[in-house]
């Protein structure tokens, strides 16, 4: 069954049974995370329809992290807090914006805040041995 996938680095959208191993645009390996049809539509500038359950998103980020050098934070309390914020932002603003950063109301700029975002460049992650994304949803495997 075909699904929607989004590159967490450059936000390219792919529709297919499997995501590309290598992103054709930014050339990052294992960069695609499964997203909802609604998110895909919103990222392409279309009205959203078809949400993504919290449970489904949890599964998607686990599968995404499993093939990478990072994992979902083992601190389940922190993860639950963040999922509350992501769900609230999706409901109110149409996309799962990071609960620890505020949107500027510039869509192109704000698309960089949709979880999972390109946290590989965050100063809290890049080159940090026990690095994590800004909000702490993803942590480097140690």
């Amino acid at each position: 069954m075909k699904k929607f996938w989004r590159c967490f680095v450059c936000n390219d959208i792919h529709y297919g049974v499997k995501p590309p191993e290598l992103c054709p645009t930014c050339r990052v390996l294992n960069a695609y995370v499964e997203i909802s049809a609604g998110e895909a539509r919103r990222m392409m500038g279309l009205p959203a329809e078809g949400g993504f359950s919290r449970e489904k998103f949890g599964e998607a980020i686990e599968a995404f992290a499993a093939q990478n050098e990072f994992r979902v934070n083992p601190d389940s309390e922190r993860v639950n807090t963040l999922l509350d914020g992501l769900a609230a932002n999706e409901e109110k603003h149409g996309l799962r914006y990071c609960p620890c950063r505020l949107i500027s109301k510039d869509f192109a700029e704000d698309s960089k805040l949709v979880c999972p975002c390109n946290f590989l460049v965050h100063e809290t992650y890049k080159g940090v041995e026990q690095g994590e994304c800004w909000c702490g949803l993803f942590v480097r495997r140690t």
Binding site: T81, L82, L86, C100, R101, L102, S104, W134, C135, G136
Partner: protein, 92 residues
């Protein structure tokens, strides 16, 4: 007049960690911090956005929470910081 603002978000784990430090600072140093939640209060969000030219350069170009802002000196702290750092910022 000096005004200390904390821009925070309800579901931000960093903000939750910093709150007890802010409580302690207010109690021990007699300062008052205005705590403004930005994801569930559009007025607060607009206020934070209005300070973007000052705040963002100190926070990797973005509006992040928690952000501590001194409106008089424009001194900004971004993210989780130790108590002493917060105290030094507040006493400036």
């Amino acid at each position: 007049m000096k005004k200390l603002i904390l821009f925070h978000a309800r579901e931000c784990p960093h903000c939750r960690k910093m709150m007890p430090l802010v409580d302690r600072l207010e109690k021990e140093e007699g300062v008052v911090m205005e705590r403004l939640e930005v994801w569930h209060d559009e007025k607060n969000a607009d206020l934070m956005r209005s300070y973007k030219p000052i705040l963002a350069p100190k926070c990797e170009g973005q509006l992040r929470t928690p952000t501590f802002f001194n409106t008089e000196t424009n001194d900004v702290l971004c993210g989780e910081v130790p108590y002493e750092t917060l105290k030094d910022w507040a006493k400036k």
